[in-house]
Amino acid sequence: MLIATDVTARYSPDAPRALDGVSLSVRPGEVVSLIGANGSGKSTLGALLVGMRLADTGRIEVDGCDPARDAASRREVRRRVGFVRQHPFDQLVSTVVYDEVAFGPRNLGARGDELRSRVTDALARVGLEGYERRDTTALSGGEQQLLAFAGVLAMQPSYLVLDEASSMLDSSARPRHRALVRALADDGLGIVQITHDPLEVLASDRAVVLEAGRIRFDGSPLELVLSERSLWDATVVASPCVDALRAVCALGYQACAPVDLDGVMSWLEDALRGSCVDAQAGATVLARMRAALLGDGRAPRPQGASAIDLLSVCYSYDRDQRALDGVSVNVHAGEVLLIAGASGSGKSTLSCVAAGLIAPDAGSVEVGGARVRTGDVGVAFQRPEDQLFCESVADELAFAPRNLGCDEGEVDARVRRAADLVGLPSELMDRYPFDLSGGQARRVAVASVLSLGARIYMLDEPTAGLDAAGRSAMHELARTLAGEGLAVAVISHDIEEWLAVADRVALMSAGRVVWGGSPGALVDDPGAFARARMEEPQAVALVRRLAGELEGGAR
């Protein structure tokens, strides 16, 4: 058993406790989801469980081994509890896959044949057989994360702590991640996963909700989703799958943890065919799912003129491969366009070209009929908080308008407007940007782009790594900007999350736009995702499956 007994921790003597009397136990073979808002103490608890930090008071025990006893025990705890984190890049020590996986066991003294067999076994367990000689930096993000798993598994741990290990994966790599977690648990590993993803929580055996350093809930994820609705909705990112689950359970489905959504849908199909559930009730479930997926009865907004036009844009980083291969797309004033696609499909390059930051090799980018200039388009790049550098939040927001040569009165007005848009309280304006929490820093960084006062904005993965509250704030921001008549393009690989916000979707694959249309049309088009070489989001698959069943039944 991996046991935490009444642990407390704080980062400095005058700070509030990050953990305040937390007790938790994890059995071998069990998957426990640790959920809560940003700053609730999840990562701190994770760091205690893997022996990276020691608790101020209370006790951690891993199969009888206490990391606080001495250095040897701490090392043994680190071996027994593997740790996989958010960014695969920060965990890779080598550029060759074999050396990467061998790093841990080598530190434990494994040599020769034993080392080789440990590496081969670990790679096989995560599905990277035959990757030994590959270059780690040339792997995709999903493969790098699997490699991080392999590096930890080669140390033959009994437990794993996953700190938002799936948050940087694109949606097509997530089903594989969930399957891996389940397979490892079936092999007898006890797993603690820190996550915001509702499907991961539903697929676990237990859910533990942390709030301000204390445990607020510890029990079955089903109990949380069905009986503690408001707590679930406040801590886990919204998903139409959850609405579907709740609706089907209301029709009499007896769910058990871990939840299998395909199983839920099969039950509904059987019940419809056996007339245990009438078609009317089935149609209600479908309507609720569509509403959750596509936004609740949202009126179509009047579309303005085209604000930015990309015409047959091509761009390549080197001779071998085109990052953009004849992309034509436009964004209208007053709309939110979702640009989606798998990693490497050219989305981020597109935003740089659209903003005039890199010149296209062929084709053109026009804003209001003239060639784009820098400053016409505001771009919030991925992890925009990584570009903060000023002494105060206020300076950070004033940076862009000052660069444009605005007078101080205008600068002030733009700063205030940007702060209002993202909901920054005025007492934050004098703070040092590097002291802010992750969610606050993201809002400051986005505001520092909005203060540019452009008519067109591109937001590249604006919600990556945010909690449920932070995400809905970003969704609202995109809608507010569009509501004020600005053109907004959101770039994301997480389609399910943005369908309810977007007015139009463009799917990209291999540097081309391969599909364009409304969110509703995307859900109804069975071939769209295949064309973009993307895995269909689960909610979309379920909606289509149920719609097909109801249609078949009506005939």
């Binding site: 893997v50 990276m52 090392r75 680190r78 071996r79 593997g82 740790f83 984190r85 960014h87 890049f89 920060d90 965990q91 890779l92 020590v93 080598s94 550029t95 060759v96 050396d99 790093f103 841990g104 080598r106 530190n107 434990l108 003294g109 040599r111 270059d135 930096t137 590096g151 930890v152 140390m155 980083y317 080197d318 990052a323 981020s348 390059t349 740089c352 903003a355 930051l357 890199i358 820098t374 400053g375 388009v377 505001g378 771009v379 790049f381 925009p384 990584d386 570009q387 903060l388 550098f389 940076f399 862009a400 308008p401 660069n403 444009l404 590097f434 520092s448 782009v449 540019l452």
Partner: protein, 266 residues
């Protein structure tokens, strides 16, 4: 999103230098460095130019791309040449204007210095573009391994070296990413006076350094989580040189000795 390929980074190509043992390449690079500096001003020096041209061709080095990347260095080299060639006190052999003239001995000295730098830089690029960072790190560890007996932490040095090599592309990618982001916030890196330009670079360097420190910290934690620092520090062994690599080493060393010796007697 990849934005740049830093100068001298490994390019996967199946060439003779790429197949060669990294230890041989490092030893020969060192030998060439000594040889180039031991070769005085004489027509024999052109043998080094021939060596460089030959190796660039063998490694199929993209010379044009490297020259573009080296354009800023050309300024420093030109300055070196001018500083050596110009005589301002009237002792120049070729008078230009008033006391200003060209000192031919100085010009030759400057030319030789510049040529040495260019040749060594070219040879180093041939090695770095044909060798992966782990091969380089392993080769250094292997060559340094006799020092382990004297208590030098060779294994740690090797790991540090390979991490440093791994961080080079990360730093360059991160810096171009931040630069793009700041340009979108209206920073102009290409215009304005010296002070404005330097201060505009602060907007790149500050977040770059902060994010690299954070990365380094997280990497350190991940290494600790995988029990780094507890092993006995035994080294990765590379095995003996293959006959072909040994032959290349002997021939290469002979060339490095022959050229300076010939320069002395011609």
């Amino acid at each position: 999103m990849r934005l740049t390929n830093p100068l001298g980074s490994f390019v996967a190509r199946d060439t003779a230098p790429a197949r060669m043992d990294a230890r041989v390449k490092i030893l020969l690079l060192l030998a060439c460095a000594i040889g180039v500096f031991a070769t005085g001003a004489s027509w024999v020096f052109f043998a080094w130019v021939a060596v460089l041209v030959g190796l660039c061709a063998l490694a199929r080095l993209d010379v044009a791309a490297h020259l573009r990347a080296l354009a800023p260095v050309a300024f420093i080299l030109a300055f070196t040449l001018a500083a050596n060639a110009l005589a301002l006190d009237g002792h120049g052999d070729i008078a230009l204007a008033g006391p200003i003239g060209i000192d031919t001995a100085g010009a030759l000295r400057g030319l030789l210095a510049v040529a040495r730098i260019v040749i060594l830089l070219g040879l180093a690029l041939v090695v770095s573009s044909s060798t992966t960072p782990p091969q380089l790190a392993d080769a250094c560890v292997s060559l340094l391994s006799p020092l382990a007996r004297l208590g030098v932490p060779v294994a740690d040095i090797g790991l540090m070296l390979s991490l440093a090599l791994r961080f080079i592309p990360i730093v360059s990618e991160e810096s171009s990413r931040i630069q793009l982001a700041q340009r979108s916030r209206g920073v102009d890196f290409d215009h304005g006076g010296l002070v404005t330009r330097i201060s505009s670079w602060a907007s790149v360097l500050t977040p770059l350094v902060v994010s690299l420190f954070r990365r380094a910290e997280r990497l350190g934690e991940s290494m600790e989580a995988r029990c780094y620092g507890t092993s006995d520090g035994s080294l990765v062994t590379m095995g003996r040189l293959r006959p072909r690599d040994a032959a290349v080493l002997i021939v290469g060393l002979s060339v490095c000795i022959a050229i300076p010796v010939m320069a002395r007697f011609v």
